[in-house]
Protein backbone atom coordinates (compact mmCIF):
# COMPACT_ATOMS: atom_id res chain seq x y z
CA UNK A 1 0.00 0.00 0.00
CA UNK A 2 2.73 2.41 0.99
CA UNK A 3 4.39 1.72 -2.34
CA UNK A 4 1.63 3.71 -4.07
CA UNK A 5 2.89 6.72 -2.16
CA UNK A 6 6.65 6.29 -2.39
CA UNK A 7 6.88 5.28 -6.04
CA UNK A 8 6.26 8.88 -7.16
CA UNK A 9 9.50 10.20 -5.70
CA UNK A 10 12.19 8.26 -7.52
CA UNK A 11 11.04 5.07 -9.24
CA UNK A 12 8.14 6.61 -11.15
CA UNK A 13 8.95 10.27 -10.72
CA UNK A 14 6.58 12.10 -13.07
CA UNK A 15 9.20 14.54 -14.33
CA UNK A 16 12.48 12.62 -14.35
CA UNK A 17 11.23 9.15 -15.25
CA UNK A 18 7.84 9.46 -16.94
CA UNK A 19 8.70 12.86 -18.50
CA UNK A 20 5.18 14.18 -17.90
CA UNK A 21 4.20 17.78 -17.19
CA UNK A 22 7.40 19.17 -18.65
CA UNK A 23 5.87 22.45 -19.80
CA UNK A 24 5.18 23.81 -16.28
CA UNK A 25 8.42 22.20 -15.09
CA UNK A 26 10.44 24.24 -17.55
CA UNK A 27 8.41 27.40 -17.10
CA UNK A 28 8.09 27.94 -13.36
CA UNK A 29 11.39 26.63 -12.02
CA UNK A 30 13.25 29.94 -12.21
CA UNK A 31 12.95 30.22 -8.43
CA UNK A 32 12.28 27.84 -5.53
CA UNK A 33 9.25 29.78 -4.30
CA UNK A 34 7.54 29.42 -7.67
CA UNK A 35 8.46 25.74 -7.78
CA UNK A 36 6.90 25.06 -4.37
CA UNK A 37 3.77 27.08 -5.21
CA UNK A 38 3.29 25.29 -8.52
CA UNK A 39 4.05 21.87 -7.03
CA UNK A 40 1.60 22.23 -4.17
CA UNK A 41 -1.13 23.67 -6.39
CA UNK A 42 -0.72 20.72 -8.76
CA UNK A 43 -0.68 18.27 -5.82
CA UNK A 44 -3.95 19.68 -4.51
CA UNK A 45 -5.61 19.31 -7.90
CA UNK A 46 -4.11 15.85 -8.37
CA UNK A 47 -5.31 14.48 -5.01
CA UNK A 48 -8.84 15.84 -5.31
CA UNK A 49 -9.33 14.90 -8.93
CA UNK A 50 -8.04 11.40 -8.07
CA UNK A 51 -10.57 11.13 -5.22
CA UNK A 52 -13.53 12.28 -7.30
CA UNK A 53 -12.60 10.20 -10.31
CA UNK A 54 -12.11 7.00 -8.29
CA UNK A 55 -15.50 7.66 -6.69
CA UNK A 56 -17.44 8.24 -9.89
CA UNK A 57 -15.54 5.83 -12.14
CA UNK A 58 -18.38 3.25 -12.11
CA UNK A 59 -20.99 5.77 -13.26
CA UNK A 60 -19.03 7.10 -16.20
CA UNK A 61 -19.35 5.26 -19.52
CA UNK A 62 -15.93 4.67 -21.10
CA UNK A 63 -16.94 6.65 -24.22
CA UNK A 64 -17.15 9.94 -22.34
CA UNK A 65 -14.59 9.37 -19.63
CA UNK A 66 -12.02 11.86 -20.95
CA UNK A 67 -14.42 14.86 -21.10
CA UNK A 68 -15.76 13.89 -17.69
CA UNK A 69 -12.24 13.79 -16.21
CA UNK A 70 -11.38 17.12 -17.80
CA UNK A 71 -14.45 18.75 -16.24
CA UNK A 72 -13.47 17.42 -12.79
CA UNK A 73 -9.84 18.54 -13.19
CA UNK A 74 -10.78 21.94 -14.62
CA UNK A 75 -13.16 22.57 -11.72
CA UNK A 76 -10.44 21.94 -9.14
CA UNK A 77 -7.97 24.09 -11.04
CA UNK A 78 -10.49 26.93 -11.09
CA UNK A 79 -11.00 26.49 -7.35
CA UNK A 80 -7.24 26.69 -6.76
CA UNK A 81 -7.03 29.72 -9.03
CA UNK A 82 -9.79 31.62 -7.23
CA UNK A 83 -8.71 30.70 -3.70
CA UNK A 84 -5.06 31.55 -4.37
CA UNK A 85 -6.04 34.82 -6.01
CA UNK A 86 -8.07 35.76 -2.95
CA UNK A 87 -5.78 34.57 -0.16
CA UNK A 88 -2.27 34.31 -1.66
CA UNK A 89 -2.20 37.15 -4.21
CA UNK A 90 1.62 37.36 -4.28
CA UNK A 91 2.21 33.74 -5.32
CA UNK A 92 -0.81 33.87 -7.62
CA UNK A 93 0.75 36.83 -9.40
CA UNK A 94 4.11 35.17 -9.96
CA UNK A 95 2.64 31.85 -11.11
CA UNK A 96 0.24 33.78 -13.32
CA UNK A 97 -0.73 31.90 -16.43
CA UNK A 98 0.55 28.55 -15.19
CA UNK A 99 -2.27 27.92 -12.74
CA UNK A 100 -4.98 27.68 -15.41
CA UNK A 101 -2.53 25.52 -17.36
CA UNK A 102 -2.61 22.84 -14.64
CA UNK A 103 -5.77 21.72 -16.47
CA UNK A 104 -3.66 20.39 -19.30
CA UNK A 105 -0.84 19.14 -17.11
CA UNK A 106 -0.39 15.59 -18.40
CA UNK A 107 0.42 14.24 -14.95
CA UNK A 108 -3.10 14.86 -13.69
CA UNK A 109 -5.00 13.46 -16.64
CA UNK A 110 -2.42 10.69 -16.83
CA UNK A 111 -3.00 9.61 -13.23
CA UNK A 112 -6.77 9.88 -13.66
CA UNK A 113 -6.65 7.61 -16.68
CA UNK A 114 -3.91 5.22 -15.60
CA UNK A 115 -4.59 4.95 -11.89
CA UNK A 116 -7.65 6.58 -10.30
CA UNK A 117 -10.10 5.10 -12.81
CA UNK A 118 -8.87 1.59 -11.92
CA UNK A 119 -8.24 1.77 -8.17
CA UNK A 120 -10.16 2.52 -4.97
CA UNK A 121 -10.26 5.87 -3.19
CA UNK A 122 -7.56 5.21 -0.58
CA UNK A 123 -5.02 4.00 -3.12
CA UNK A 124 -5.89 6.93 -5.39
CA UNK A 125 -5.30 9.42 -2.58
CA UNK A 126 -1.89 7.88 -1.83
CA UNK A 127 -1.05 7.88 -5.52
CA UNK A 128 -2.12 11.52 -5.81
CA UNK A 129 0.02 12.61 -2.88
CA UNK A 130 2.99 10.53 -4.02
CA UNK A 131 2.91 11.81 -7.58
CA UNK A 132 2.19 15.36 -6.43
CA UNK A 133 5.09 15.41 -3.99
CA UNK A 134 7.31 13.71 -6.56
CA UNK A 135 6.43 16.51 -8.98
CA UNK A 136 7.04 19.16 -6.29
CA UNK A 137 10.35 17.49 -5.39
CA UNK A 138 11.49 17.55 -9.02
CA UNK A 139 10.47 21.21 -9.39
CA UNK A 140 12.27 22.22 -6.19
CA UNK A 141 15.48 20.43 -7.20
CA UNK A 142 15.50 22.06 -10.64
CA UNK A 143 14.39 25.41 -9.21
CA UNK A 144 17.01 25.25 -6.46
CA UNK A 145 19.88 24.59 -8.86
CA UNK A 146 18.68 27.30 -11.24
CA UNK A 147 18.16 29.88 -8.52
CA UNK A 148 21.52 29.25 -6.84
CA UNK A 149 23.46 29.35 -10.11
CA UNK A 150 21.44 32.02 -11.87
CA UNK A 151 20.72 34.47 -9.08
CA UNK A 152 23.11 33.38 -6.31
CA UNK A 153 20.12 32.98 -4.04
CA UNK A 154 18.06 30.27 -2.41
CA UNK A 155 14.49 31.11 -1.42
CA UNK A 156 15.42 34.76 -1.98
CA UNK A 157 18.41 34.71 0.41
CA UNK A 158 21.96 35.22 -0.80
CA UNK A 159 23.89 31.97 -0.47
CA UNK A 160 26.91 32.51 -2.69
CA UNK A 161 30.08 34.43 -1.87
CA UNK A 162 29.83 38.17 -2.49
CA UNK A 163 32.01 38.27 -5.61
CA UNK A 164 29.88 35.54 -7.26
CA UNK A 165 28.69 36.64 -10.68
CA UNK A 166 25.24 35.06 -11.34
CA UNK A 167 25.19 32.69 -14.28
CA UNK A 168 22.26 34.35 -16.01
CA UNK A 169 21.63 31.51 -18.46
CA UNK A 170 20.51 29.29 -15.58
CA UNK A 171 17.35 31.29 -14.87
CA UNK A 172 16.59 31.98 -18.51
CA UNK A 173 14.68 29.41 -20.57
CA UNK A 174 17.74 27.46 -21.86
CA UNK A 175 18.88 26.89 -18.27
CA UNK A 176 15.70 24.95 -17.56
CA UNK A 177 16.41 22.53 -20.40
CA UNK A 178 20.07 22.13 -19.46
CA UNK A 179 19.43 21.49 -15.75
CA UNK A 180 16.54 19.12 -16.39
CA UNK A 181 18.48 17.20 -19.04
CA UNK A 182 21.49 16.75 -16.75
CA UNK A 183 19.28 15.59 -13.88
CA UNK A 184 17.48 13.08 -16.10
CA UNK A 185 20.82 11.77 -17.31
CA UNK A 186 22.04 11.46 -13.72
CA UNK A 187 18.92 9.51 -12.77
CA UNK A 188 19.40 7.10 -15.68
CA UNK A 189 23.07 6.66 -14.91
CA UNK A 190 22.25 5.69 -11.34
CA UNK A 191 19.59 3.25 -12.51
CA UNK A 192 22.01 1.49 -14.88
CA UNK A 193 24.55 0.75 -12.16
Amino acid sequence: MLREFTKGFIKENPVFVMALGLCPTLAVTSSVVNAIGMGLAATFVLVFSNIIISLIKDFIPTKIRIPAYIVVIASFVTIVDMVMHAYLPAIHKSLGLFIPLIVVNCIILGRAEAFASKNNVLKSILDGFGMGFGFTFALVVIGGIREVLGAGQFLGMNVMWTSYKPMLVAILAPGAFIVMGLLMGLMNLKKKK
Binding site: F59, I60, P61, I79, V83, L168, I171
Partner: protein, 200 residues
Protein backbone atom coordinates in the same frame (compact mmCIF):
# COMPACT_ATOMS: atom_id res chain seq x y z
CA UNK B 1 -30.15 6.49 -29.77
CA UNK B 2 -31.16 6.10 -26.14
CA UNK B 3 -27.53 5.37 -25.31
CA UNK B 4 -26.34 8.69 -26.70
CA UNK B 5 -29.00 10.61 -24.81
CA UNK B 6 -27.79 8.89 -21.67
CA UNK B 7 -24.20 9.93 -22.40
CA UNK B 8 -25.30 13.52 -22.88
CA UNK B 9 -27.30 13.47 -19.67
CA UNK B 10 -24.37 12.14 -17.63
CA UNK B 11 -22.08 14.83 -18.97
CA UNK B 12 -24.79 17.41 -18.28
CA UNK B 13 -25.09 16.31 -14.65
CA UNK B 14 -21.32 16.45 -14.13
CA UNK B 15 -20.95 19.91 -15.63
CA UNK B 16 -24.00 21.20 -13.77
CA UNK B 17 -22.61 20.11 -10.40
CA UNK B 18 -19.18 21.51 -11.26
CA UNK B 19 -20.53 24.89 -12.34
CA UNK B 20 -22.75 25.09 -9.27
CA UNK B 21 -19.78 24.63 -6.95
CA UNK B 22 -17.67 27.10 -8.92
CA UNK B 23 -20.43 29.73 -8.95
CA UNK B 24 -20.72 29.45 -5.17
CA UNK B 25 -16.96 29.80 -4.65
CA UNK B 26 -16.75 32.65 -7.10
CA UNK B 27 -19.32 34.56 -5.09
CA UNK B 28 -17.17 34.05 -1.99
CA UNK B 29 -13.76 34.93 -3.45
CA UNK B 30 -14.62 37.69 -5.93
CA UNK B 31 -15.23 40.42 -3.29
CA UNK B 32 -11.97 39.51 -1.51
CA UNK B 33 -10.00 39.63 -4.76
CA UNK B 34 -11.44 43.04 -5.61
CA UNK B 35 -10.77 44.37 -2.14
CA UNK B 36 -7.18 43.12 -2.30
CA UNK B 37 -6.65 44.97 -5.56
CA UNK B 38 -8.11 48.21 -4.19
CA UNK B 39 -6.02 47.85 -1.04
CA UNK B 40 -2.86 47.18 -3.05
CA UNK B 41 -3.45 50.39 -5.03
CA UNK B 42 -3.99 52.40 -1.85
CA UNK B 43 -0.84 50.96 -0.30
CA UNK B 44 1.19 51.71 -3.42
CA UNK B 45 -0.11 55.31 -3.47
CA UNK B 46 0.81 55.80 0.19
CA UNK B 47 4.19 54.27 -0.49
CA UNK B 48 5.15 56.74 -3.22
CA UNK B 49 3.63 59.79 -1.53
CA UNK B 50 4.03 58.94 2.11
CA UNK B 51 3.34 62.43 3.44
CA UNK B 52 -0.20 62.40 2.09
CA UNK B 53 -3.12 61.86 4.42
CA UNK B 54 -5.78 61.32 1.80
CA UNK B 55 -6.19 61.22 -1.96
CA UNK B 56 -8.75 62.61 -4.36
CA UNK B 57 -9.24 60.97 -7.72
CA UNK B 58 -9.29 63.06 -10.86
CA UNK B 59 -8.83 62.55 -14.56
CA UNK B 60 -8.14 64.52 -17.70
CA UNK B 61 -9.15 63.80 -21.24
CA UNK B 62 -6.16 63.23 -23.46
CA UNK B 63 -5.89 63.26 -27.21
CA UNK B 64 -6.09 59.87 -28.83
CA UNK B 65 -2.60 58.77 -29.63
CA UNK B 66 -1.83 57.15 -32.96
CA UNK B 67 -0.30 53.81 -32.20
CA UNK B 68 3.05 53.36 -33.90
CA UNK B 69 2.47 49.65 -34.21
CA UNK B 70 -0.55 48.98 -36.45
CA UNK B 71 -0.71 45.35 -35.35
CA UNK B 72 -1.34 46.34 -31.77
CA UNK B 73 -5.05 46.45 -31.03
CA UNK B 74 -6.35 49.98 -30.65
CA UNK B 75 -6.83 50.82 -27.02
CA UNK B 76 -10.29 51.18 -25.53
CA UNK B 77 -11.95 54.59 -25.54
CA UNK B 78 -11.91 54.72 -21.77
CA UNK B 79 -8.12 54.79 -21.83
CA UNK B 80 -8.26 58.24 -23.38
CA UNK B 81 -8.78 59.45 -19.86
CA UNK B 82 -5.65 59.93 -17.86
CA UNK B 83 -6.41 59.09 -14.26
CA UNK B 84 -4.44 60.56 -11.40
CA UNK B 85 -4.82 61.26 -7.71
CA UNK B 86 -4.20 64.49 -5.83
CA UNK B 87 -2.56 63.88 -2.50
CA UNK B 88 -3.38 66.15 0.43
CA UNK B 89 -1.75 66.25 3.83
CA UNK B 90 -3.59 66.32 7.14
CA UNK B 91 -4.28 70.08 6.79
CA UNK B 92 -5.87 69.55 3.36
CA UNK B 93 -2.92 71.15 1.63
CA UNK B 94 -2.07 69.84 -1.84
CA UNK B 95 1.33 68.18 -1.58
CA UNK B 96 1.56 66.18 -4.77
CA UNK B 97 0.08 63.75 -7.25
CA UNK B 98 0.21 60.04 -7.90
CA UNK B 99 -0.57 58.16 -11.08
CA UNK B 100 0.02 54.78 -12.65
CA UNK B 101 2.42 54.91 -15.61
CA UNK B 102 2.02 52.01 -17.97
CA UNK B 103 3.66 50.99 -21.24
CA UNK B 104 4.50 47.74 -22.97
CA UNK B 105 8.13 46.82 -22.32
CA UNK B 106 10.12 43.88 -23.64
CA UNK B 107 7.73 41.06 -22.83
CA UNK B 108 4.98 42.55 -20.69
CA UNK B 109 3.03 45.60 -19.68
CA UNK B 110 5.11 47.41 -17.07
CA UNK B 111 3.03 49.36 -14.57
CA UNK B 112 4.64 51.85 -12.27
CA UNK B 113 3.06 53.80 -9.44
CA UNK B 114 4.57 57.28 -9.50
CA UNK B 115 4.46 59.92 -6.78
CA UNK B 116 5.38 63.51 -7.69
CA UNK B 117 5.40 66.75 -5.71
CA UNK B 118 3.56 69.92 -6.74
CA UNK B 119 6.49 70.97 -8.98
CA UNK B 120 6.06 67.68 -10.85
CA UNK B 121 9.38 66.32 -9.65
CA UNK B 122 9.32 62.57 -9.01
CA UNK B 123 9.35 61.76 -5.30
CA UNK B 124 9.32 57.99 -5.53
CA UNK B 125 8.32 55.26 -7.93
CA UNK B 126 7.25 51.70 -7.39
CA UNK B 127 6.91 49.02 -10.07
CA UNK B 128 3.58 47.38 -9.32
CA UNK B 129 3.26 44.94 -12.19
CA UNK B 130 5.72 43.45 -14.68
CA UNK B 131 6.65 40.12 -16.26
CA UNK B 132 9.95 41.01 -17.91
CA UNK B 133 12.79 38.52 -18.44
CA UNK B 134 13.89 37.03 -15.11
CA UNK B 135 17.44 38.07 -14.25
CA UNK B 136 17.43 40.94 -16.75
CA UNK B 137 14.39 43.19 -17.09
CA UNK B 138 12.79 41.77 -13.97
CA UNK B 139 15.59 43.43 -11.98
CA UNK B 140 13.62 46.67 -12.39
CA UNK B 141 11.78 45.81 -9.17
CA UNK B 142 15.04 46.15 -7.24
CA UNK B 143 15.20 49.00 -4.75
CA UNK B 144 18.51 50.37 -6.13
CA UNK B 145 17.08 50.76 -9.59
CA UNK B 146 13.85 52.42 -8.51
CA UNK B 147 15.69 54.85 -6.22
CA UNK B 148 17.45 56.61 -9.06
CA UNK B 149 14.13 58.02 -10.25
CA UNK B 150 13.75 60.01 -7.02
CA UNK B 151 14.11 63.75 -7.59
CA UNK B 152 14.06 63.55 -11.38
CA UNK B 153 12.03 66.01 -13.41
CA UNK B 154 10.40 65.36 -16.78
CA UNK B 155 13.47 66.49 -18.73
CA UNK B 156 15.88 64.18 -16.91
CA UNK B 157 13.69 61.13 -17.40
CA UNK B 158 15.47 59.26 -20.18
CA UNK B 159 17.94 56.43 -20.35
CA UNK B 160 21.59 57.50 -20.29
CA UNK B 161 21.98 56.18 -23.84
CA UNK B 162 19.27 58.64 -24.94
CA UNK B 163 20.92 61.56 -23.15
CA UNK B 164 18.94 61.33 -19.92
CA UNK B 165 19.96 60.59 -16.39
CA UNK B 166 18.52 57.13 -15.82
CA UNK B 167 21.16 54.45 -15.71
CA UNK B 168 19.79 51.44 -17.56
CA UNK B 169 19.76 47.90 -16.21
CA UNK B 170 22.50 45.74 -17.74
CA UNK B 171 20.99 43.84 -20.66
CA UNK B 172 17.60 45.47 -20.25
CA UNK B 173 17.74 48.87 -21.88
CA UNK B 174 14.27 48.33 -23.36
CA UNK B 175 12.69 47.78 -19.97
CA UNK B 176 14.46 50.79 -18.51
CA UNK B 177 13.46 52.95 -21.44
CA UNK B 178 9.86 51.78 -21.13
CA UNK B 179 9.67 52.79 -17.49
CA UNK B 180 11.31 56.17 -18.08
CA UNK B 181 9.09 56.89 -21.06
CA UNK B 182 5.89 55.82 -19.34
CA UNK B 183 6.60 58.18 -16.44
CA UNK B 184 7.50 60.94 -18.86
CA UNK B 185 4.21 60.54 -20.72
CA UNK B 186 2.32 60.56 -17.43
CA UNK B 187 4.08 63.71 -16.28
CA UNK B 188 3.27 65.34 -19.58
CA UNK B 189 -0.44 64.64 -19.14
CA UNK B 190 -0.29 65.74 -15.55
CA UNK B 191 1.38 69.05 -16.37
CA UNK B 192 -1.45 69.85 -18.80
CA UNK B 193 -4.09 69.13 -16.21
CA UNK B 194 -2.26 71.20 -13.60
CA UNK B 195 -2.15 74.12 -16.03
CA UNK B 196 -5.90 73.90 -16.50
CA UNK B 197 -6.38 73.96 -12.76
CA UNK B 198 -4.33 77.13 -12.44
CA UNK B 199 -6.43 78.85 -15.12
CA UNK B 200 -9.53 77.96 -13.16
Amino acid sequence: MKYYIKLGLILFVITAIASGILAFLNGKTQPIIEENQVQAQINARLDVLSAAGFFVEDSIKIAKKQDANPLKIQKEVSENWFKYFRGFDADSLLIGYTFVASLYGYSSEVQTMVGVDTNLVVKKIKIISQAETPGLGANCVKEDFQKQFDGKSEKQLAVDKDGGEIESITGATITTRTIANSIKIGLNHLSKSVEIEEVD
